[in-house]
C-alpha cells in the first residue's frame, strides 16, 4: 500500500514489517517488552509529516478519538 508521501512508501514498508512482527509475536501475547521499531518509525514519520504539510492535509489539532467524545455524551 502506498504512502501519502510518494517518497515514503519504502520507509513505510520497512516500518510496517517491523511493527507486524512485534504486534503478533509480542504485543498481542501480553509481552510488554519495548517495541523495537521506534527508529524505523521516526524515519518514516518524518517523511510523512513533510508530505502532510506539503499537501495541506488538515490533521493538526485533532484530538484522539476526538469527535467520539461528543457521541459519548449525547
Amino acid at each position: 500500500m502506498n504512502s501519502v508521501g510518494e517518497g515514503c512508501t519504502e520507509l513505510k514498508r520497512e516500518y510496517d514489517q517491523c511493527f507486524n512482527r512485534w504486534f503478533a509475536e509480542k504485543f498481542l501475547k501480553g509481552d510488554r517488552s519495548a517495541d523495537p521499531c521506534s527508529e524505523l518509525f521516526l524515519k518514516y514519520h518524518t517523511c510523512v509529516q513533510k508530505a502532510i504539510k506539503e499537501k495541506d492535509i488538515p490533521v493538526e489539532g485533532v484530538e484522539f478519538m476526538g469527535p467520539n467524545r461528543e457521541k459519548a455524551d449525547s
Binding site: S3, F23, F27, F41, H45, V48, F64
Partner: protein
C-alpha cells in the same frame, strides 16, 4: 439532520488474527478506492493498550446527479482519519473513523467495537455504528441517502476484504463465489440507493421551482 446506522457482524477468525489483519487490510481486492494508508501516530499506554492514528486517502466519488451542485474545483481525493485502541488483555479493539475533508458537503463518523464472539470464542464480533450528515442546502436528504448507501456498500467490501486477508494469512484462498457474491450484493445495494437518492434530488429540484 443526521442519519444513523448500526449493524453487527462477525468474522470466523480469532480475535488475535483479526487484530493482526486489521493492520494488513490494504490493499485487498475490495479496496481499490483506497489510495494511500499511513500510520501518523502510535503509542503504547501505561496499561499496555495500543493507540494508533491512521490517515487514509480515498477516491472521492460523487454521483453524477450531485456534480452540478458541488463546487467546480472540489478535490477528487478524500482524507479520512481512523483512530484505534487495541486492548490485548481485554481482547477488544475500538475504532473511530471520520472524514477530515469534504465535511461541508457530507460528514460521516463510524464507531466500531471488535470483541470475542460471545457464542463462539474462536470468532470475532464487530459492532458498527455510523452517523452520516449533510447540511448542503436543499440536498441534505439526497446526500445522506447516498452517503448511507455508499457506507453500507463499503461495509460489505470491508468485511470481504478482511475475510480475504485472513484467509491469505491462514494459507487458504477465498473462493471466487464469495468474491462475486460480495460484488453483486454491493452493486445491488448501491444501485437501489442510487435510484432513491436520484429520486430525492429531483424532488428537491422540483421544489425550487414551485
Amino acid at each position: 439532520m443526521v442519519k444513523y446506522f448500526s449493524c453487527a457482524g462477525f468474522l470466523k477468525s480469532s480475535w488475535d488474527q483479526v487484530f493482526l489483519a486489521f493492520w494488513q487490510r490494504y490493499p485487498n481486492p475490495y479496496s481499490n478506492h483506497v489510495l494511500t494508508e499511513d500510520i501518523i501516530f502510535r503509542e503504547v499506554t501505561p496499561d499496555n493498550c495500543l493507540m494508533s492514528r491512521r490517515l487514509l486517502t480515498k477516491t472521492s466519488r460523487a454521483p453524477r446527479w450531485a456534480e452540478k451542485f458541488l463546487p467546480a474545483h472540489m478535490a477528487q481525493k478524500a482524507y479520512i482519519i481512523e483512530d484505534s485502541v487495541v486492548d490485548p488483555q481485554g481482547r477488544t479493539m475500538t475504532t473511530f473513523t471520520w472524514n477530515i475533508s469534504h465535511a461541508r458537503v457530507m460528514s460521516f463518523e463510524e464507531h466500531c467495537v471488535y470483541r470475542v464472539n460471545p457464542d463462539n470464542n474462536s470468532w470475532t464480533e464487530i459492532k458498527r455504528e455510523a452517523w452520516i450528515s449533510s447540511n448542503l442546502y436543499g440536498l441534505s436528504r439526497a446526500i445522506q441517502e447516498f452517503g448511507l448507501a455508499r457506507f453500507k456498500s463499503n461495509v460489505t467490501k470491508t468485511m470481504k476484504g478482511f475475510e480475504y486477508v485472513l484467509a491469505k494469512m491462514q494459507g487458504e484462498l477465498p473462493t471466487r463465489t464469495l468474491a462475486e457474491t460480495a460484488t453483486v450484493k454491493a452493486r445491488e445495494t448501491a444501485f437501489a440507493a442510487k435510484e432513491k437518492a436520484k429520486d430525492l434530488a429531483s424532488q428537491a429540484q422540483k421544489k425550487q421551482y414551485v
